[in-house]
């Protein structure tokens, strides 16, 4: 079934021969070594690996937060590696929702304002429609009652859900999350993961870095990164199949 599914959908993210060398230290350090990767539309991909293996570096290539030293990154037909900073910002705002480990909500904006911020920057939706749309997203993450609080008044799990709502603000096809559950207790982490599953069902494509092996085992496709290379790939069968046997 999974092969059937992948065959139906198109390639959304494609990395070809991506190399990333950091030369900020005393000796240049190669964090990604000739990585090739394809992610199809609607996939839920988990990136796992030891600390320092290059997961964050890899996901940053896809979101355009960082640039490859060589190689190509094409997302939804856009050559991300070739965009300048401004083009990147605009493209990212509409195409990829980014979720960080440390939530990264702007401290002086309320939850709903944080959610509306990407709409403002990317001029999505009519200004008058934005609060309504943001509220809708907050309802989706079950935060509607917290909408007008400042982030500092929210718990970690609530902040992360607010950050997810913000990542979805411009209705991007892709969600990239770097250890979104890293700072949450297992129950809250579970809730966030469940939210991701719902989003995949709603045809979002999700790429998520995680340390949590339990969570990693629940994604459809998990990739193991070690020493800057993708060394292993596991395709889990969808839950329905497992249950049905």
């Amino acid at each position: 079934m999974s092969s059937q599914h992948t065959a139906e959908s198109s390639v959304l993210v494609s990395l070809r021969d991506v190399v990333k060398v950091y030369d900020t230290g005393e000796v240049p350090f190669t964090a990604l070594r000739h990585v090739d990767l394809e992610v199809r539309s609607g996939e839920f991909v988990g990136l796992i690996g030891k600390s320092g293996s290059g997961k964050t570096t890899l996901i940053n290539m896809i979101t355009g937060i960082d640039r490859p030293t060589s190689g190509e990154v094409v997302v939804g037909g856009t050559p991300v590696h070739a965009l300048n900073e401004n083009q990147l910002a605009m493209w990212r705002g509409r195409t990829i929702g980014v979720v960080f480990q440390f939530f990264q909500l702007l401290p002086t904006l309320t939850v709903i304002e944080n959610v509306m911020l990407p709409m403002d920057f990317c001029a999505m939706y009519a200004p008058a429609e934005r609060p309504e749309h943001a509220m809708h997203l907050l309802e989706q993450v079950e935060l509607a009652d917290q909408a007008h609080k400042l982030p500092s008044a929210l718990s970690g799990g609530q902040q992360q859900r607010a950050a997810i709502a913000r990542a979805l603000a411009n209705d991007p096809p892709i969600l990239a999350a770097d250890e979104p559950t890293g700072n949450l207790d297992s129950k809250t982490a579970d809730a966030v993961f469940h939210l991701f599953e719902e989003l995949v069902e709603a045809h979002k494509t999700i790429i998520m870095v995680t340390h949590d092996t339990d969570i990693a085992s629940r994604v459809r496709r998990s990739l193991t990164v070690s020493d800057g290379e993708i060394t292993d790939e596991i395709i889990h069968r969808p839950r329905a199949e497992r249950v049905g046997l």
Binding site: T24, E26, N60, T63, I65, D66, E85, N86, A89, M90, R92, G93, R94, V98, F100, F102, Q104, L105, L106, P107, T108, L109, I112, E113, N114, M116, L117, P118, D120, F121, C122, P127, P131, H148, S152, R166, A167, A169, N170
Partner: protein, 806 residues
Amino acid sequence: MSGPLSGLAPRWRKVVRDLSSHRFRTLLVVLSIAVGVFAITVVMGGRGILLREFEAVYAASVPATISFSVDAADDSVVRAVERFEGVRFAEGRRTLAVRYTKGEQPEAASSAGWDTLHVSALPEFERGRMDLVTLESARSFPPVAGELLLERSVQMVADYAVGDVVSVEAPSGKRTELRVTGIVHDINAFPATFVATATGYVSMDTLRLLDQPTHYNEIHLIAEGAPTRAEASRLAVEVRDDVLGARGVRVLQTSVPEPGSHFLGDIFRAVSLLLLALGVLSLALSGFLVVTTVQAIMAQQVSQVGIMKAVGGRADQIMRMYLVMVAVYGVFAVAVGMPIGAAAGHWFTGYAADLLNFRITTYAPPPSVIALGVAVGLAVPLLAALVPVRLGTRISVVRALNATGMSGTSFGHGLIDRALGLVRGLPRPVALSLRNTFLRKGRLTLTLVTLTLASAVIMSVMSVQSSILATVDEVDMWDFDAQMWFAVPQSREAVERIASRVEGVVAVSGMPEYRSVFTRADGTESQPIDLIGVDPASDFVVPRISEGRWLAAGDRAAIVLNADVAKDEPELRVGSSATFNVLGEDRTFEVVGVVTAGLMGPVAFAPAAYVDEIAGRSGAIMRLQLRTPTDDTWEHARIARVVERRLEERGVPVAFTQTANDQRDQVASQLGILVTFLAIMGVILAAVGVIGLTGTMTINVLESTREIGVMRAIGASHRSIYQIFVTEGVVIALIAWFVGALVSYPMSAALLDMLERAMGLPLAFEYAWSGVGIWLAAVTAIAIAASMLPAFRASQVSVRDAIAYE
């Protein structure tokens, strides 16, 4: 959703919230900018108001183009002058110097110790057309016989009011009493604060009470159009020869001042130049301050910039947000700095106007200054912010996001860290704070530049002050304790004999002194120059030569000029020969030297023997100087009074007496204006320094919140956190002090050079080493004070705050 910001897009709400939630930071930035706006408004506003009002008052007084001092002239002569081609108006007046004292003194045996009053008797008070005076308060006006109007500056040195009676002694010795019926302001009179003499005005019929004839001894005129000084000088020669000479009026002296230039012009130019320099410097300082603070804000906001970029914000959108924020700071700063600056400017100009003896009619700063203040408050911060904001918003998203953790600098690789690592035995809080100090190198550099500049300027200002005070010593080229002048030539031998018999007089020196006039190449004449005959070997003269040499024993027709003559008459150079008209005869002298003495009016020195020879009066003197064994200035004045009385008893009337201290005060009070202005300058700059350092320290605290929290978590006490921040502030201040001291040497030399040029007076350069010490103490105190508040805030940081931060 219906808050006051509901109409605003989220990013603008962020700007508003950032401004309002970081109140202390907002206050700090606003103050940094406001200090610049304030300084510009005070300094440039003060300068603008002074120049405008001074010009207005001076122009309104209609100063005479030419004035002649004559033996005797009546109204028919004045009317003849007025009819002469090129002359618009002419007026006659009679002036004389009398001695005066307050109150009725019928019994006083002698006028010794009385002050000198320059009296002008005017034929017309209400319809005067030149050298106008303004009535400030009066009991009756115009004055009639026996009534006196006093120039208001006398009130600054003594307590005179309308209704007072003054006793006056005429040159003939006749005593009379005059009633003060009004106080006037005369911008063309030397303020009593500068010279030991007062100025007064009477009607022509008061002259009889003073034993004076009622004809004029001065004719003043206003020329047609606006002649240059050269044109005016030519007109003066024509009027003298064709009108006055033709009518048998003997001209004793012709005065053609530089048109439109007041006698305080030099001081005025110097003050205005200093103010301009201060304006430029405070602008630069405030610019640095703004760059520093904005850079700090951007450093603090870097992770937020990263987040905004990550969610789709373009660099230009984000840049605009921060520029708007800076503009808002600017608007607040103008709102705060401008009114305070205008108020301080009001006080400052009022003070300066009092010193310079002129009235200010309106204190409104010129529109150009308001425009400049607004520009400084808005444009300078925006320009200054452009670079840090640009850099802050151009930062790549990864770098911005990576900056969130514990201060993600690459400290440890740096030389400084290694150097600090070598210094063992440093108490840990000190080592930590040193590390902190160098950690934020960029801001450190900017803060240092700001504080160094402020330090350098303050120390330079102190050096300029000490140089000016040293100049006061230098312009004084005499070594006497008291001196007096006689109305008519006296026998040197007799006067010296009488004076040296007075107890307390250890040395006396009489000298001839006559008015002379230098005739320029084009035939026009200079201002009157006092030609003093001195014995080249006399130890009463301590010449400081700026060019050429002093008079030598074999000299005959040799002349040495003071700085004032050298400045006014560029034709007169050492080595040139020059024609001086002395007592009506043209004499040729060789200019052999120039002395640094100045600010006392044009004076020239020639050998006493030669002056006697050309005066045809051997051993006749006009001035007597004497020395006493004491340094006590009261004693000098007392002994001078005794000498004066003794001379008068022997039939030698003394016209004017002065102690060395009086003379020094005169010069010092003119230069003192500069010293005062310099002190004000220093205070403003120190304020900029304090605000700047407080700002930096506060921002350091804000930035180190997380580190402080961690330190608290591992057990740092309140005290050690205080210590860390105060040490940091003091280290910054000490570096600024040291570099500032190095810079201040050439800077004070340059400032002094500028002043010299503006005043045309050679100034002595004396670097204020004491200022270096004073500023060391002051800057340390400032650093401690400036770090106290931030250190307090730091000590209040709890572990929880630090972890929750951002």
